[in-house]
Symmetry: C2
Subunit: 253 residues, 2 copies
């Protein structure tokens, strides 16, 4: 029996602007069972504030302090190392970096900039990397389920583009970085071996959590899930289930 | 003694719009020595016609039939396999695909689109690849020496971005594809073991040519060359020399 649960948000609790049926109730069931929860999002197109608003509007019971985003982890790194960011991010995310240092050597910070991934912006970031700056990736997801229902390019494609051209390896801050899962578990006073993860991304959520040391990781067939995803990820999911409600069923046993 | 020579163009004969000193004379020396030549360009931002015009304006003695470009190789592939292109290329290159098939299943064709590498265009190409289309890369160069003198992102970064997101491996048509060097050698009635290559790209030109089987490959310290490039490429250059004139000196012995 696990002692805490980590939940992905996009594709698990909602898809685009639509709450997934039964998701808010499934979160409530975990609360009722007395399990502490943390929400781990790799969505870097919108600020933390908007995630809070969406979860609230969808009737999910949570405390904003339970929400972990890669931007928060990068802010801490910038402060601790005294770097200022050269940001290649969606403008909507800028508010999550308002408190980041304005001085110091540059570090390239890349998130899912979406339509703001222009050649000019990518080339400017490449030149900063070629000049020796460290490379911080908020996430390296391949794809996400877009508003039109089809899959679209996520930040990972652009991280790989800049890594290939510059020869500089990115440090990843969101899932599947072990430190991202670890910080959320530690915030519940637990070790990774005591928590379960639920997500729709077989790589970043599921294989990432298991590689980091989580006790279990459930892949849901909502969000970006495509038939066969469970066969492509290593380690394989503890179980592949229809949705968050089914995952909660497995967790509560 | 080699029996024919393959020459890279950008960074070897000219940089941007500037002829490199002594390059046209070096080409003439090879002609005088009776060596057949072929010109192999990976520059895919401008059409074949513009390369011909530039070489002519710079006083280089050549026949347009001696010019090999990846676009020509891709056109032949599209015709032979009955595919039509979904093009992610610079609009200036479109004229090189005028004779390509208009019917048949789609194949994604990627060149150095420069400022036309928008998120929208990359995502559209990604979706065609995710639908099962083959992926044809005109080139996979990491960087090129831009008009402002600094290095800029070349097509390779974007090839890797789409490969990572889609899981579809690109077939490369320009250098370092062995078939590209081989077709140019065969056009001179020679095998790769009878020809030397000269280029400024330690990977695509030099290591590529040697891996393909060329007898020798010279790296010039013009164009995109940066100190130490020769140490990063495997196989290493036959010799690293100041410019094309020095490479010709080596070739003629």
């Amino acid at each position: 029996m696990v002692k805490g649960v980590l939940l992905d948000i996009s594709g698990v609790i909602y898809e685009g602007d639509r709450a997934l049926p039964g998701a808010a109730d499934a979160v409530a069931r975990l609360r009722d069972a007395g399990l502490p929860l943390r929400f781990l999002s790799n969505s870097t197109r919108s600020p933390r504030r908007r995630l809070v608003d969406k979860l609230t509007a969808m009737g999910v019971s949570f405390d904003p302090a339970e929400l972990f985003t890669p931007a928060g982890a990068v802010c801490r790194w910038l402060e601790e190392t005294g770097h200022r960011g050269h940001f290649l991010i969606h403008p909507d995310l800028a508010e999550d970096f308002e408190t980041a240092p304005q001085q110091g050597p540059k570090a390239v910070v890349l998130g899912d900039a979406g339509p703001f991934f222009t050649y000019e912006a990518l080339n400017a970031a490449f030149r900063v990397l070629a000049g020796g700056a460290p490379f911080l990736a908020l996430a390296v997801n391949r794809v996400f389920r877009d508003a039109d229902g089809a899959l679209s390019l996520d930040a990972g494609a652009f991280v790989h583009a800049l890594e290939y051209a510059s020869g500089v390896q990115a440090q990843v801050f969101g899932k599947p970085a072990p430190g991202f899962f670890g910080a959320a578990a530690a915030d519940m006073g637990l070790t990774l071996g005591e928590v379960a993860m639920v997500g729709d991304d077989a790589e970043a959520d599921v294989a990432g959590a298991l590689s980091a040391g989580c006790a279990a990781a459930y892949l849901v067939r909502t969000g970006k899930y495509r038939a066969g995803d469970e066969a492509t990820a290593t380690p394989a999911p503890t179980a592949t289930v229809d949705d968050l409600a089914a995952a909660v069923e497995c967790i509560l046993g």
